[in-house]
Symmetry: C2
């Protein structure tokens, strides 16, 4: 056996936030791709489309008319997966046929009145308004609901059916699988090491640098050591913060800055409006508001599907679905690539 080199030799890496492993096989990038290619993202969305239900002043499926909004705009999802009044399925219940009541609300939030912008292209103060609204939502829905999931599906490749810049908020009376797992892992780490997992992690990464994509005085964006998606990133504050509504005014400005920087790198990677799903994880709310949540650290996950180009994505299928996630380039390679991209957005760049 020769000396181990992470970009030549397959190995496993541990994800301490999910208690799982990922198989890193960087040599796989060498194989040729003869499989499915995607349609590249639409680059010419009209600023206003009279048929788009998310534009200001337009009528939605249920007959409601959007206000003539000039900043963010919030409304109830017209086809919510979670409704506040679902009855309890009762308790049959053989251990193999267990069900539970699910109650909640689903909202949609437009980021901007224009359909042809994205967070990367919006003005910093416009992004701050989005962040303020996120904080408000966590505050308000968090009084009732145990978990408030803010997420953005961006691009048709991610099942997003509307090009207008927007995110969704699904609040529920239960702790969903992913945050439940993350809560368990962060709690166990805190009990063992006396410091929040992600605070220690941020410090380590800020020192090591090799996985950092962008950083500011308050924030850090890295391709995590355990990333599964090729260009996955983790965005987190350096200070111990439980929830997005705990961010100071200054930290919100900093967040707007780093989000614009990160998303500009993403767009510049293949010179397209980069598709992804992203979402915020912070300490649980509702009945958890009065509990000790010191083990938690606020963070956002970005999961972009693309691997090789604007049209070739990573297929998380077969081995990934049945056995384990596998990646085809190292997180360090991905971070370096993103880090070295220009800071200026390809759409606003001169000449």
């Amino acid at each position: 056996f020769c000396t181990f080199r992470k970009c030549y030799h397959q190995h496993l890496r541990y994800n301490p936030l999910r208690d799982t492993w990922v198989l890193v096989s960087a040599h796989r990038m060498k194989r040729p791709w003869a499989g499915q290619v995607e349609k590249p993202p639409e680059e010419h969305t009209p600023r206003y489309d009279p048929r788009n239900p998310l534009c200001p002043g337009n009528t939605r499926a249920n007959g409601e008319v959007n206000s003539d909004y000039d900043s963010t705009f919030l409304f109830e999802n017209d086809f919510p997966a979670l409704q506040p009044d679902a009855p309890d399925p009762g308790s049959d219940q053989h251990p193999l046929f267990q069900s539970k009541v699910a109650r909640g609300v689903c909202k949609v939030m437009c980021f901007h009145p224009w359909s042809d912008v994205t967070l990367s292209l919006m003005k910093k103060q416009e992004v701050v308004k989005v962040i303020d609204k996120w904080a408000e939502l966590i505050e308000e829905l968090g009084t009732t609901y145990l978990w408030v999931q803010i997420f953005e599906n961006k691009g048709a490749m991610m099942g997003c059916s509307n090009p207008h810049p927007h995110c969704q908020v699904w609040a529920s009376n239960f702790l969903p699988n992913e945050p439940a797992l993350s809560d368990r892992c962060q709690r166990a780490y805190y009990q063992k090491h006396g410091e929040p997992l992600l605070l220690q992690y941020a410090k380590q990464e800020a020192e090591k640098k090799e996985r950092v994509v962008v950083e500011t005085s308050d924030w850090l964006a890295v391709v995590p050591y355990w990333a599964t998606w090729p260009y996955q990133t983790l965005l987190l504050p350096r200070r111990h913060v439980l929830r997005i509504n705990d961010l100071t005014t200054e930290e919100r400005e900093g967040l707007a800055d780093i989000m614009k920087q990160l998303l500009t790198k993403y767009d510049n990677l293949f010179e397209i409006s980069f598709p992804y799903s992203m979402g915020w994880h912070g300490a649980p709310t509702g009945p958890h508001l009065n509990k000790d949540n010191s083990h938690w650290q606020l963070h956002a996950h970005y999961y972009p599907p693309l691997l090789r180009s604007a049209t070739v994505k990573k297929f998380m299928v077969g081995y990934e679905m049945l056995a384990q996630d596998q990646r085809d380039l190292t997180p360090e390679q991905a971070a370096e690539k993103l880090r070295n991209l220009p800071e200026e957005h390809y759409k606003t760049r001169e000449n």
Copy 2:
């Protein structure tokens, strides 16, 4: 609150094989779909293509020439994610930066010399040969490796880059996340209830009938109570069987029958060659061969991506990636739909 009805009212269901929950919101099927549509699967694959590296007698990327095979055909993956000789990354190791050695082999197995058939269209005795080969592979690779994952990615939608009917086998010196979780859950259930989880489950489903898609005297295919993918199925023997190589000759014939039946239903659903990822889970091998694995029951998972039609899939994004799987029709509705489809394949049907 009115009376609970599972096809109207969202609720959570428990997956005892993964210790997770799925959100079932059947009313979501009512929402219109304006999002991405897929290219329907290619229906006219030539029987033999001189440029296809999987056809008999053709030359592969590495210069090797395939034999003129007339049944199954096995070869080493030319771009393996797992190689037998990777060095050990050593142990740095901060608890947040843990890595482990990964060793293994990746093989490809063609099901048939013709590119224009699928398991659903192959003769029963040809399918038996595939099953025999699967059993041989578990037996052989299982002497060395802890886990032998047999899986099939079918269709371009599932990242499969070659239309020739084939599967893959990735064997590893480690227990991947999914089987590790399933092992843990089956073991805990067995300790508590004194009977294998999936044996009890098969009995219950055979009685209840509402989630059964097809059944034979030895086998059962159901849309599991906790299915996440719209038309996901679970295929398992009624007898307690640990691994595919433990199946009797009769059970292998029965498996060929039920696979042909299930896959015919799948193809008939939207009258296309139905895309999916599938794979086998059985008791671990290698060092586990001498341990007690009574808690295990052999089974196959089928994960098909389609939701509404041949071109509209379920996007497992946003909420699913960050919070929890969510489905848009009940498993009972999916099972009923599949169950009621003709037994004859649409391609071989008269008139």
